[in-house]
């Protein structure tokens, strides 16, 4: 199964409530995916800053003095916000890659969840309400975000197996379904220089899209390519620094509902996830067509 929720705000007045709205939507999708949950929130770090979101199984040890150590290693200011097993490190945008390499050296046990100008990803095993509370997602503001509740089929229930997967700067993907040709596609992407953290099928979908974007394709074209090159069942929701895309495989048995008003575009695996959004009664509500790419960019 799995549940997906997504929200792309058009009205800046709603931005402070993004985390609260997404949390409510995510918790509604608990019975589609009680194994683990995750959320990607996009909000600007401010002028010239980038964000590295990291995770550790031993946060007390790994996050202790990490900001100081990292500052010394990259020779630039570092701000760190620790939230449970995750920490968000703000560094000058130009130093983001250097910070990523330095973190890997300084704290080998740490995993990078996401990196970019706007993105933060928080994900853990456990019920969506517990995961959201742990990272205080409801207090977060932002421009757009994607959430996922997981019922695992293809790989183990672990933090790294939870969605969203981020395989490129400011990019993330969540998936409902299962891919059948992911091993072959992963091999090909590795040959092209992409790296993988897990054996998970969804990570291959994410890396496939990231690779297309790296080669200069538009988000629309990258999503189109999933229809020809990926085999299996999928409803994907993808986030980029300024946008939000949706694509379903041609069979389209994995459910999807969308709603649009002047204030937002929303995605839910089921209509239930959307019922508390403002103005939903008057929203245009529709089911995205199979093998059809939808995306919104600001």
């Amino acid at each position: 199964m799995c549940g997906i929720v997504g929200l792309f705000l058009k009205d800046p007045k709603l931005e402070p409530q993004l985390g609260a709205m997404l949390t409510d939507m995510l918790i509604t999708m608990t019975d589609r995916g009680p194994d683990s949950a995750g959320i990607a929130i996009y909000s600007s770090a401010g002028k010239g800053l980038g964000k590295l979101t990291v995770q550790s199984a031993h946060p007390e040890k790994d996050f202790k003095d990490l900001d100081g150590d990292l500052k010394q290693a990259i020779g630039a200011p570092v701000a760190m916000l620790v939230k449970s097993t995750h920490a968000v490190l703000e560094v000058p945008l130009g130093q983001l890659e250097a910070a990523r390499s330095a973190v890997a050296q300084l704290r080998p046990g740490i995993k990078v969840m996401s990196s970019g100008e706007n993105i933060e990803i928080f994900k853990e095993v456990g019920l969506p309400k517990d995961v959201a509370a742990r990272f205080e997602v409801a207090k977060m503001g932002g421009t757009h975000g994607i959430g996922h509740t997981r019922m695992a089929t293809e790989s183990a229930v672990t933090t790294m197996g939870a969605h969203p997967f981020s395989t490129g700067s400011d990019q993330c993907l969540v998936h409902n379904g299962s891919l059948s040709n992911h091993n072959g596609v992963r091999r090909e992407l590795k040959r092209l220089g992409m790296t993988f953290e897990t054996e998970n099928d969804t990570e291959v979908g994410a890396a496939f899209i990231s690779h297309k974007l790296q080669t200069g394709e538009t988000l629309g074209n990258a999503l189109e390519a999933t229809l020809t090159d990926l085999d299996g069942f999928f409803t994907f929701v993808v986030g980029t620094h300024n946008g939000f895309g949706v694509v379903r495989d041609p069979i389209a048995c994995k459910p999807a509902v969308m709603a649009e008003t002047d204030q937002y575009v929303a995605f839910g695996s089921e209509y239930r996830a959307l019922v508390n959004l403002p103005g939903i009664e008057a929203a245009r509500v529709w089911e995205p067509e199979p093998a059809t790419v939808y995306f919104w960019e600001r």
Partner: protein, 229 residues
């Protein structure tokens, strides 16, 4: 009128109240408010009552319906009226995938569009869709009638048995063993009745439809293919 607030009283209380109605009852009119996309609303009703759901529903609304008239004043999630036995289900909005699947009788009316697999394996139900239907609709449909005022998606009526399909608009593609057939006077009469009962008689005339059915080449055992089995 019995008004039931689903957000306060819960789904189990609603469905057990409805299941308690057997045969003739004085509580013939029911209204369900705040459905909020909940699953299995008014599934398994077996009484001649009239139920109006004020909003959109989740999976399997009106599933296995017998005798009841169920109106959805919104859109319906996957599997609406699945395996309906008799009665009527009327959806004002759209219906998600496999609406009316395996339905054995009664009438399902969808005033918006239906998505994929509408009427899959239908076995006697009549379905009237005012808009379009998605891909793989009427797959292995055995009997009953499908009426579509709009267009049909890919692979309509794949591996069809004896259901009759009437489409007014375009058909993206026909599935294996599904062919266009002649509209005879009895089909015009049947269609006129279905359009009337499906609240669509002001929207379309029977003469505007094409009929599709089984070529009957696939479902009979063919001795020449014995080696393939």
């Amino acid at each position: 009128m019995q008004t039931f607030d689903l957000s306060k009283e819960g789904l189990r209380a609603l469905n057990s109240s409805l299941h308690a109605l057997k045969g003739q009852t004085n509580m013939t009119a029911w209204e369900v408010i705040n459905p909020k996309g909940a699953h299995a609303i008014a599934a398994g009703v077996d009484a001649p009552v009239d139920i109006t759901v004020r909003g959109s529903t989740g999976y399997y609304c009106a599933g296995m319906n017998k005798l009841a008239t169920i109106r959805i004043k919104g859109s319906a999630g996957p599997g609406v009226a699945e395996n309906m036995m008799s009665g009527t289900v009327i959806i004002d909005g759209d219906a998600s995938q496999y609406a009316g699947a395996t339905g054995r009788g009664g009438l399902l009316v969808i005033k918006g569009n239906a998505s994929s697999r509408c009427g899959i394996s239908m076995k006697g139900i009549d379905i009237v869709v005012h808009g379009n239907i998605g891909h793989m609709s009427c797959f292995m449909a055995q009997s009953g009638n499908m009426v579509v005022l709009g267009d049909a998606g890919e692979a309509l009526g794949d591996s069809l048995y004896e259901a009759r399909l009437f489409v007014r608009g375009s058909v993206k593609s026909l599935g294996a063993d599904c062919i266009e057939k002649e509209m005879r006077p009895e089909h015009i009469a049947l269609l006129a009745d279905l359009l009337k009962r499906g609240e669509a008689d002001g929207k379309a005339r029977p003469e505007e439809f094409k009929r599709y059915g089984s070529a009957r080449k696939l479902y009979n055992f063919n001795i020449d293919n014995a080696s393939a089995y």
